[in-house]
Amino acid sequence: MHLYHGRILIIDLTTREVRVEELSPSVLKGYLGGVGLAARLLYQYAPAGVDPFSPANPLVFASSGLGGTTIPTANKHAVATKSPLTGLIGDSLSSSYWSLSLKRTGFDALVITGAAASPTYLFIDNDIVHFKKADHLWGKGSLETEGNIKREIGDSRVMVASIGPGGENLVRYACITNDINRQAGRTGTGAVMGSKKLKAIALRSTRPIRVYNLDEVQRLSFALIEKTQGGGTKKYRELGTPGNVLMLNSLSALPTRNFQQSSFEKAENVSGEVLAERYLTKVMACAACSVACGHIYTVPDGAYSGVQWELDYETLFALGPLCGVDNVAGIIKAAELCDYYGIDTISTGGCVAWAMECFEKGLLSGEDTEGIELTFGNYEALLQVIEKIGTRSGIGGLLAEGVKLASSKLGNGSEKWAMHAKGLEFPGYDPRAMKTLALGFAVGLRGACHNRAPGYETDMSGQVDRFRGEAGRGAKLKEQEDFAAVLDSLIICKFIRKCFDDFYTEVAYLYSQATGLEMSPAELKTAGERINNVKKAFNAREGWKYGDDWLPPRLFTDPITEGEGKGTVVTEEELKLMIDDYYQARGWTGKGLITADKLHALELNDSIASLEGLRYGKKVYNL
């Protein structure tokens, strides 16, 4: 087999037992790698109904199918686990040299189960697994942890993925950081790692990667590298994703002050343009990425002078406009602080913004916040609260639970402005101004996510009225979700999605030449559908119910306050209509469950029925 290894490594932290299991070429081809493979393995290795913080909840790291080569942007990895934030599938991507090292371990995935008795880190030296004490690293941020482990092993080429104090303290949206500033950010994978007392996974991999047809893979890679220097990636290379700020602001789609407004009157102050002019230090790339979107900024003066950190649009939006903050130095400092604690910036911003609204409306008092004046725009308060979240102290204990749980604990109507779907805090797009995106947030398999359910592509296409939900959006969203699943599994970065003329044809051929597994464009497309269905099957098994696919009340009652689309809300009727349309496009039942026909068509019946713990047709599906 080429490019794949055909085996996975299963590590039990409780017993320190390590074993290797084989993976068949059909599973690899059927799920590609990345998110697809991670989701498939999670389905298989997670006992049905497992508590996310139980040692039995597996933490799966899956390599990119096409990683380890010159194929640009393919050095990524996926993490999957049962999310402590949503209670459903948690899957997240990260990238760069740790991902490359994972690919070169000689395993297509790591499945980590059990829990260590005391802080531990794993050092996987090619295929030898060492269990190392991590008491001395417990409490440290990822940056320091990486440096310490490299020094301890005595080899700076060792790559480290680790959790910060946030993961240790079980902040439900803690992330896993690798390569200093790359995160598997969403859905709380870092909290699960913390619950296992697993501080870090260090990899030293020196294995060569072989492809089926080297000359052809090289030719295709070089052509793609060339294309990634063109118009399709201009936005990412030049201003980087912060360029979105002014664009979304002009579309009434920049969520501001916890979605009370859809545009920010001070957007200019935090725009990609201003960042580039006053703060940009360097643009960096992930391993084997020819785009280079990583914009690193430095605060030139003032209280945080010299603070240097990377910002992307989502971090900028969440710690900026969403919290009413327009102080760039404060945002850069807040991003650094989130990364020190190892907590997802989007969810952190979402939780703080929710708390700011609670504070302004009198639901949280100065006593609750220990004197912090938690008002919109107060960046110093934002910084103080981030520390409290990371350490779960005071008000941070509540906010570390995520807005879904926090609002149900606080009550008093605060659920209305808890901006999440299925527990995952909203990213930086306003669904009132993008109705296909609204559908995607509602039905999204990991909760509200623009990456897994990129409905904005339809809304921005110019072919639909983005302020109106209507029939036909279901099919469009399905197509986009399946496309995203293919990208997230191959793994090819979404930032080069516009570098293909005919994606499925070009990439199926590239895949065949790289792996030696013959793949047709139709098969590749079906793989995307299969991956989303296995995630759906996991959710259904773990308690997803019809009705969970929905949006928070604010979007139905509070309209866009000004600018284009002023007065627009999401109506319950249009959302219901689009959801029905979507279930139909997916070939699911009217109640959103997978049908027997669909299971057969996607060949999920074989894999799922044979998997331990599930008898399809009885236990999960009300067929």
Binding site: A288, S290, G294
Partner: protein, 156 residues
């Protein structure tokens, strides 16, 4: 013939490491940074630089070899490795101040940059997406520096 070598502009280098991957594929038929003849170093989150053999005037690698396996090919200005003589002892690797030489365990001999002899330009230079790599000479680099200095001195 002027001595040429591959130089890296750290202002332009984004640390992607495609040069290593391209090199090992071109020369060894596999993707493996450890088998590349150019190597990326990441110093921190903003500094990355790729390093290949600089074909030093005084060649400590050649001096260090106890088996006379390394030699300077004066006609082409590259360092030759006699695979029959090289036993992979690694003295040359230690002698090199730039870490430009590596051991190929499967052939049991060392490898280093040969500027992709026979090609119009080295493969890494051709593929580098940010044009951070180029083949240059000391003379050219010195002239670039002089011009830059002159420009700075006369610009006010």
């Amino acid at each position: 013939m002027e001595r040429k070598y591959i130089t890296c502009d750290t202002e332009l280098c984004t640390g992607c490491g495609l040069c290593e991957m391209v090199c090992s594929a071109e020369k060894e038929g596999v993707f493996c940074p450890e088998l590349a003849r150019i190597h990326l170093v990441h110093l921190d989150e903003t500094i990355a630089m790729s390093i290949a053999c600089r074909f030093c005037e005084d060649t400590p690698c050649i001096s260090a070899c106890p088996r006379e396996a390394l030699s300077m090919d004066e006609a082409n200005n590259v360092i030759r490795v006699d695979k029959m003589r090289c036993i992979g002892c690694g003295w040359c690797i230690e002698a090199c101040d730039f870490g430009a030489i590596v051991l190929n365990r499967s052939t049991k001999s060392v490898i280093l940059c040969d500027l992709c002899e026979g090609r119009s330009q080295p493969k890494c230079v051709e593929v580098c997406p940010k044009k951070a790599l180029k083949v240059s000479t000391f003379e050219i680099e010195a002239q670039v520096a002089r011009e830059k200095a002159a420009r700075a001195l006369t610009s006010s």
